[in-house]
């Protein structure tokens, strides 16, 4: 494919840190002591960790080379479904790295840190305005942590009503972390099978919802990229039996400025600032998973609450119904700064456009690739579209093979084999960051991969070939774990 961005490049070898260096080198300046040496408690002294001694240039080259074996959003298109790999603006990084922010100690007296509290207070309000919910806590440190905080709110709510509930409804199109988050709060997940259209049908909820069930955890839009159209009806059924509705907001990027979650009947929602609000994923974190609730549930949110008393920004601790703390301090504050900077840059109109363009891009990819790839649910999709490898099976080419071939063509592959409700899933989320020309090249490249699957299946099965390593033996890694050097 002559248009594909993938080409060959120079890859440098780099050993593990402890395979280089020499005793006596150092890579960091340490001040000379300006105080007398004190006596030491001999019985507690240790040998010190066995770290290699490296010079500064050793460390710099090491990490520069490692970084060159990686692929990020800044490198190229990263259509990883349900992960919202949108552009991470540089100005956000600049704000988070400003000395006044990085030097702020979390236990400063309130009057000493008004600026930080104001930022958090305003971000809470902005997230409330975007989602339609009434109150927000910024404390959870990741999406799954937000889910846990949300489930703890469920548990606290039912406890406050002296209601013992043991089960929770979780659709098969929900995010993978949901069952484990609910289980941490003592709830047994009950699977809800989505209907023929790929969405939940109210009648199924009616059959499953009872007074032993704490509520439902819905991902909306769901992991098939479809909007749960019956959400209001479902919410009413859940509320009727005294349950609550949780919405996993990981896919919020499809609906900003469009959907009001409170009007959908949602009681608790978490957001992923590292998805929808452009903070970088960092190869697996840190993220932030604010939890948003209705006014009725505000009293259960984690302490301390950040509030404004008309005169100053304050931290409220005395909240007897609160689920308690979920983080040592205020959550991943540096991530909050980035999301705040993003919301300021965008404003209401551009956030709405971002969602519209994200959906436009996904629908464009869907229309362009259907027929080449099997589309299990040919319905209007939101910000992501799910295909499968069904049409490639007679050539014994799998989703994995196509994903690995896409890598050689210069793309991060889509999310594969998720959601589990379809076999061999290929979940594409282009995000609003991709322009039409780049989408066209991606589509053309993917069509070509499909053609290769038919004509040269061995080429796909041997992919990738242009990286530092070929396909890796994951079975051996799990069978004989080597977890350290």
């Amino acid at each position: 494919m002559k248009n594909a961005p993938g080409d060959s490049g120079l890859i440098l070898k780099e050993p593990l840190l402890w395979e280089k260096g020499k005793k006596g080198r150092n890579g960091m300046s340490i001040p000379e002591s300006d105080v007398p040496a004190a006596s030491l408690p001999e019985d507690l002294l240790g040998e010190g960790p066995d770290f290699p001694d490296l010079s500064e240039i050793d460390v710099v080259r090491h990490y520069t080379r490692l970084s060159q074996w990686n692929f990020g959003v800044d490198t190229g298109m990263y259509p990883l479904g349900s992960c919202t790999m949108k552009y991470n603006p540089k100005i956000n990084e600049k704000q988070a790295a400003a000395p006044g922010i990085t030097a702020a100690h979390p236990l400063l007296p309130e009057e000493q840190c008004q600026g930080m509290l104001k930022l958090m207070y305003e971000l809470q309000n902005h997230l409330a305005a975007i989602t339609g919910m009434d109150a927000v806590s910024l404390q959870p440190a990741a999406g799954a942590h937000g889910e846990l905080a949300g489930m703890l709110v469920f548990a606290a709510y039912h406890r406050s009503r002296n209601s013992t509930r043991t089960k929770i409804l979780i659709p098969d199109t929900a995010h993978g972390t949901n069952p484990a988050s609910a289980a941490l709060c003592g709830y047994r997940p009950v699977k809800v099978v989505s209907g023929r259209r790929g969405i939940l049908e109210a009648s199924d909820i009616k059959d499953l919802m009872d007074e032993e069930t704490a509520g439902i955890m819905i991902t909306n839009p769901n992991t098939l990229g479809l909007f749960e159209e019956n959400i209001r009806e479902i919410a009413a059924l859940v509320h009727e039996k005294g349950g609550l509705v949780y919405c996993d907001g990981a896919n919020m990027n499809a609906i900003m400025g469009i959907v009001d979650l409170k009007k959908c009947g949602v009681d608790v929602l978490h957001l992923n600032l590292h998805k929808t609000f452009s903070t970088p994923h960092g190869g697996g974190g840190p993220g932030a998973g604010p939890v948003c609730v209705t006014a009725e549930l505000e009293k259960f949110l984690p302490v301390p609450r950040v509030a404004y008393d008309g005169d100053a920004y304050v931290l409220q601790y005395d909240r007897p119904d609160s689920i308690g703390r979920v983080h040592a301090f205020f959550g991943n504050f540096g991530v909050l700064v980035r999301a705040y900077s993003y919301i300021l840059a965008m404003g209401a109109e551009n956030l709405k456009k971002a969602s519209q363009y994200a959906v436009l891009n996904a629908c464009y990819v869907k229309e362009s690739l259907k027929g080449y790839l099997h589309l299990p649910y040919n319905r209007p999709c939101m910000h992501e579209v799910v295909f499968t490898d069904k049409l490639q099976q007679d050539k014994k080419v799998s989703t994995l093979d196509m994903a690995k071939r896409l890598m050689d063509c210069g793309y991060h592959p889509p999310t594969i084999y998720f959601p589990l409700v379809v076999s061999g899933a290929i979940m594409i989320e282009p995000t609003e960051s991709e322009c039409l020309e780049d989408l066209d090249v991606f589509i053309e490249v993917f069509k070509n991969v499909v053609k290769e699957a038919d004509e040269k299946p061995d080429l796909l099965r041997a992919s990738p070939t242009r990286f530092k390593v070929r396909r890796l033996d994951e079975t051996q890694a799990a069978r004989n774990p080597c977890l350290r050097g």
Partner: protein, 443 residues
């Protein structure tokens, strides 16, 4: 808007392909009664320069600016951060990548995390360390839940009151909806945990101690491990200041079974308390019960060394509700940051830096003792609790005016320690500032 590349012409082309006429038609599945009635109430779009100005205004509302001298640690420490760290961690190949699900194009992250696991395991004296937890507090909660899983039938854990109060709060939050019980252990007059009541507690799965503890005091973990193991319970050892292990025995070498704590000290800025780094490790035999991601070494088709995420069968996306935890994304780039810091310091450097922290804290303790203050008798590292002969609050206020945050008053956390202050001294604390505080105490 510069983040959005779509031109009007592009939009028309794309809509024609899709077969819709406007954005309204692009959302046919969203019912009318689920929609926002009006535009979201948000500030208008800001230019870069307006954001700079706005943020500058917020920063100016911090009376204790970046130049302040904060002699408080309590889980968030001020250490020098070498310039190579912001330079290298801002490389967008690391920063803008996702969790390494496609290992061939994420070997940078994967080797980086494998190195993190290795240096962390060596630092803590454990067999295995995971790819991180959110922070020290949630790591402790997860460590205790792991110990309960390992014990199978037991229902109780004991946590020292000398563990960071916020960490104990988080443990309480995680435990409230469970069937498990948390018992608190008192501390002695010398600042160490009092284990004498331990033998009265039955059904005990684990005991959590922190060393250096919240008072900066080093616990005798070795002696504690003997007592705890005799009761067939596990020792879960926490920490907030890992630099201490550059000088003092690490928890693993003293018999800790599960080690979990906060790694913010290692090249990560305080940033108002986050993001930090939850470090977590354990003995080899417990690894399949450990929460969190793990990176392992393997080979590719051609026998070449490479790294992959592994032992995923413990995790939520495979085991669903039976997973060892719900943790998925963790502190990613901060594991790389901490490893860069450990690598830049090296074995020689960490010993020297830890010693400098110890000596400076010892200097301040000595000067305060000369000025009539009382300290806990047990040895410590770079934090310590001070009981002044008179009321210190006036001096504390006066020093704040000079941009010196002279210790954290403990009454809010420990009513019985009302009027005592927790101090922290690191390599960043000028001797002149220490002398200035002592001078104020002498007044």
């Amino acid at each position: 808007m510069r983040y959005l590349p779509h031109t009007e012409e592009d939009i028309q082309t794309m809509m024609a392909r899709i077969g819709v006429k406007n954005f309204e038609e692009l959302f046919p599945t969203v019912p009318r009664d689920c929609r926002h009635d009006e535009a979201m109430a948000l500030p208008p779009p800001h230019t870069e320069w307006e954001i700079d100005a706005h943020m500058e205004e917020l920063r100016s509302m911090m009376s204790m600016g970046a130049q302040g001298n904060v002699l408080v640690g309590a889980g968030s420490y001020h250490h020098n951060i070498p310039s190579i760290i912001p330079s290298l961690t801002s490389r967008s190949e690391f920063l803008t990548a996702y969790t390494p699900y496609q290992p061939e194009m994420a070997q940078g992250t994967l080797q980086g995390v494998f190195e993190y696991q290795t240096l962390t395991a060596r630092l803590l004296g454990v067999d295995v360390a995971n790819a991180s937890m959110y922070d020290g507090a949630s790591a402790l909660a997860e460590g205790l839940l792991m110990a309960l899983r390992l014990s199978r039938k037991k229902k109780k854990v004991a946590v020292s009151r000398a563990v960071h109060p916020h960490y104990r709060d988080v443990v309480a939050t995680y435990f409230r909806p469970t069937e498990f019980e948390v018992v608190e252990l008192p501390f002695q007059e010398d600042g160490r945990t009092d284990l004498s009541s331990l033998s009265d507690i039955s059904d005990l799965a684990a005991v959590a101690l922190q060393s250096p503890n919240f008072f900066g005091v080093l616990e005798d973990l070795q002696a504690a491990a003997t007592v705890i193991h005799a009761q067939e319970a596990l020792l879960v050892a926490g920490f907030t200041e890992p630099l201490a292990f550059g000088l003092f025995k690490n928890p693993g070498s003293q018999g800790a079974d599960i080690v979990c704590g906060e790694g913010q000290s290692f090249g990560i800025a305080r940033s108002f308390g986050g993001p930090g780094l939850g470090m977590f490790g354990c003995k080899e035999q417990f690894v399949r019960n450990m929460p969190g991601r793990l990176v392992g070494e393997t080979v590719d088709l051609e026998g070449k060394r490479g790294f992959v995420l592994t032992l995923a069968t413990r995790e939520q996306h495979i085991r669903r509700e039976k997973a060892t935890s719900n943790i998925c994304s963790n502190q990613g780039i901060n594991t790389i940051t901490a490893t860069m810091y450990m690598a830049a310091l090296g074995g020689s450097g960490i010993a020297k830096l830890a010693r400098l922290n110890y000596d400076k804290a010892a200097y301040m303790k000595e000067r305060l003792a000369e000025a009539g203050a009382t300290l806990f008798a047990a040895p410590g590292f770079n934090e310590f609790v001070v009981e002044f002969s008179g009321d210190f609050s006036g001096a504390h206020k006066a020093l704040l005016q000079e941009n010196i945050f002279a210790g954290l008053e403990l009454g809010r956390y420990y009513p019985e320690l009302q009027g005592r202050y927790l101090f922290c001294v690191t390599e960043t604390t000028p001797r002149a500032v220490i002398d200035r505080i002592v001078e104020e105490v002498k007044k």
